[in-house]
């Protein structure tokens, strides 16, 4: 390669760096290429030619991978955003409902229908809140007794007693709690009769059923909760409403078995 520049015929194919660069960039047409490089220029043009249709097959596989990678991420982002919006709205409406509904409900025992419906639809997203029967207190939690009399410890309450996996999957530690259930109870009591069947379909009332330990216990639970709410005026808010909640007919009963179920239902398989 050590040729003297003074002897041009010594290496007819010698190239300087700039010419190499221009060839590689396709800036030299074959007829502009240095002697001996016309074919190379042509070849490089073919190497960089526009794609043929045969080179543009198989995009579907790459797109499928793209979907597999990005869909879970996008769906999660959408769910997070929706949950934020929903929670914010629910909290705002909840406060309004409790203020208004609490006054109206206390005065008349009856919620205006529009408010009731709003409560039903808005409180739904909050149905993941912890059941009131799991206070931050050591020892066996308790739930109020049912209408039918004191259940014995450890007995089951039927298939509806524990319904794991029925929640919509929200944060289990949102602000929902006894206060929310009071609102639900007011709405529940306001709709006695044929409406109750429909009510129990709503997720908010399923949460109420869980808190009460079963759909057939809602009435008793609510009676205890609302009655106790009045009785508890002035007491510490952190009190455990379930601990001394009254069933309609019976004395307060501690039921560790039910407590476990309530707890289990409050945090479904997450």
């Amino acid at each position: 390669m050590r040729r003297l520049p003074a002897t041009p015929d010594a290496d007819p194919l010698a190239l300087d760096d700039e010419t190499v660069e221009r060839l590689l960039r396709g800036e030299l047409a074959p007829d502009q290429a240095p002697p001996g490089y016309a074919e190379v220029a042509e070849l490089l043009t073919a190497v960089a030619a526009p794609p043929s249709p045969g080179e543009l097959t198989g995009q579907a596989a790459a797109l499928a991978e793209l979907r597999a990678v990005t869909r879970p991420r996008r769906a999660a982002a959408t769910r997070r955003a929706a949950r934020r919006r929903r929670t914010g709205l629910a909290v705002a409406v909840l406060v309004g409902a409790l203020v208004t509904g609490g006054v109206a409900g206390a005065a008349t025992g009856h919620l205006p229908a529009p408010l009731r419906d709003a409560g039903r639809s808005i409180l739904g997203p909050l149905d993941d809140g912890p059941a009131p029967a799991q206070p931050a207190r050591p020892g066996p939690p308790s739930v109020p007794a049912a209408q039918g009399g004191p259940p014995s410890a450890g007995t089951t309450t039927g298939p509806q007693g524990a319904r794991p996996g029925t929640t919509a999957g929200g944060p289990a530690s949102t602000a929902a709690g006894p206060e929310d259930n009071k609102g639900l109870c007011q709405a529940y009591q306001a709709g006695k009769g044929d409406e109750q069947g429909r009510k129990l379909e709503a997720s908010a009332f399923q949460a109420l059923a869980r808190a009460a330990g079963g759909e057939d216990r809602i009435a008793g639970y609510c009676a205890g909760l609302l009655g106790q709410a009045k009785a508890q005026d002035g007491k510490d808010d952190q009190g455990q409403p379930g601990a001394d909640g009254q069933g309609q007919g019976g004395p307060p009963v501690t039921d560790p078995g039910q407590g476990e179920r309530a707890q289990g239902a409050g945090s479904p398989g997450r």
Binding site: E39, L43, V47, S52, L63
Partner: protein, 187 residues
């Protein structure tokens, strides 16, 4: 090349926008195929697919302009190639295809040659017949459209080395094509 829109196309594609991703794919898939046609023609399609899996998985983390993106894609492509070569070496040399693309380059109709010059396939076969480093340097420069410094980074060599490789490769092509007398006799 996608051009100035690349800055919008890339994040859209990373977010799952299939049209945006399709633009990246359409721009790069033929280049990847040609790179692999030179380096490992028998498995060019498979290696291109594997490269896209890597690209898709890393798309959300990539930051940079279009030239950097292209260099990144070809870095992944080269890793796929080296992985494949390692696997092939473990399996044994009997599985290694012998210069498939060169054999596939059947002589074209001379009349068509005179009019259209090389087919892309034939041209790739010529490049593939060079020593591997020279062939790879030329393909990354010409097909991937990468600057010397990026090619050097991808190949793990110094820029000066890449210049020498491309220079020698072009010269060797000129010698061969001249000897073959394909077009030279016409000139």
């Amino acid at each position: 090349m996608i051009g100035p829109e690349f800055d919008d196309v890339l994040p859209a594609a990373a977010d799952g926008d299939e049209e945006a991703f399709g633009r990246l794919w359409t721009d790069l898939q033929p280049r990847l195929l040609r790179y692999f046609m030179v380096a490992a023609p028998a498995v060019a399609d498979d290696l291109a697919s594997e490269t896209w899996l890597g690209v898709v998985r890393g798309l959300g983390r990539f930051r940079g302009n279009e030239a950097a993106f292209r260099a990144w894609v070809f870095t992944i492509a080269r890793h796929e190639l080296l992985d494949w070569r390692r696997r092939a070496a473990r399996r044994g040399a009997e599985d290694l295809p012998a210069d498939g693309v060169v054999d596939q380059a059947a002589p074209d109709d001379p009349a068509a040659d005179a009019l259209e010059g090389f087919s892309t396939r034939e041209a790739l076969a010529q490049v593939a017949s060079l020593p591997p480093d020279q062939a790879e340097a030329i393909v990354l420069r010409v097909v991937a459209g990468l600057e010397v410094n990026r090619v050097a980074a991808i190949m793990g060599k110094r820029p000066g080395t890449v210049r020498v490789l491309t220079h020698r490769g072009l010269r060797r092509l000129a010698e061969r094509l001249g000897d073959g007398g394909r077009i030279r006799r016409v000139v």
